[in-house]
Symmetry: C2
Subunit: 192 residues, 2 copies
């Protein structure tokens, strides 16, 4: 018998379907429902049976992205050790999802007006809290607000993913580029 949506026959793996859709839409944000279905190796009819429409699909992808970012935060153990080390771990954990997250951010801007998923606010808060902790321990400067540093992190992650995608920088430098710029800036400091 079925409990909650899981019948006896499970030909399509919803999670795998979502990840395939995420991968495709990361590359081509305007992909059609038909293209998404084909990419996942299923028919458009079946795709519609799992997600009422494009909107529902994007919403589900949004939750996937939130889960991925939450996992990254967990894995980075933001509360442990120095704030700088925590930030380095965070960027490293975010990297695999960076392209997908950039897609979701651009989609979110389109949802403007409608209420956004509360998960983003929670995540923003946790990242901002990391910056604030760094400020309180004296590691980070206090004239840049945690909110701005959080936004800047998103922006740099997006720029990094894009720059790599365009071949302007090497993929292996992702982490270093972002963390070094975010932490140290472009200015050549004296004590280095």
């Amino acid at each position: 018998m079925s409990h909650l949506g899981y019948g006896r026959l499970m030909a399509v793996d919803r999670e795998h379907l979502l990840r395939t859709a995420a991968s495709l839409l990361t590359r081509k944000s305007t992909a059609t429902m038909d293209e998404v279905a084909r990419a996942a190796g299923i028919s458009r009819a079946t795709l519609h049976r799992h997600f009422a429409g494009r909107d529902a699909l994007v919403r589900a992808l949004e939750e996937l992205g939130i889960r991925q970012l939450e996992s990254a935060l967990e894995a980075a153990r933001l509360d442990e050790g120095g704030a700088e080390g925590a930030l380095r771990r965070l960027v490293a954990e975010i990297e695999p999802s960076s392209g997908f997250l950039a897609f979701l951010v651009s989609e979110n801007q389109l949802f403007e007006g409608e209420q956004m998923h509360p998960g983003w606010a929670r995540l923003d808060g946790r990242i901002a809290a990391l910056f604030q902790r760094g400020q309180e321990t004296g590691e980070f400067r206090i004239d840049l607000t945690p909110a701005w540093l959080t936004e800047a992190l998103y922006g740099l992650v997006g720029s990094g993913a894009w720059a790599i995608h365009e071949g302007r920088v090497a993929a292996k430098d992702f982490q270093y580029m972002i963390v070094e710029l975010l932490l140290g800036g472009a200015r050549r400091s004296v004590e280095k």
Copy 2:
């Protein structure tokens, strides 16, 4: 008689029309041709008489954005004085166009595959040259490539514009936030 597109009667000011469209699309990137026309106070038919289609309009807007950014580069006098000062002037000059440029960047990503306007490459080169000059004078660190610093600048400008639009940070802090983060980073340095 008319020479090249400029007839005797010029009821619609093409430049003003473009700026109105830019303003609207900056706020609502999915705006319809009809909405663009209404925003400019003209009919859809007239809009089509000036721009063959949505694509042509976006292309024209792209050139407007390139012109604006070029003007910003000129006004910032990138070759004068220290690289840091030049960068501060550049960000200040870019600020008024930041939202519009962010729109164009997102549109450009959609044009992926087709050849992009050569103006962007020229601008990228000029900005990258500024960072390189800073590296050669010893002002900037050399472990972050000019190409990455250029991308990072775009990303931070976009994040700044977005953060202000969302009300997460104050508009008056735009310049300071971006330049300080880009130059000095979040880390609290010793000599400050």
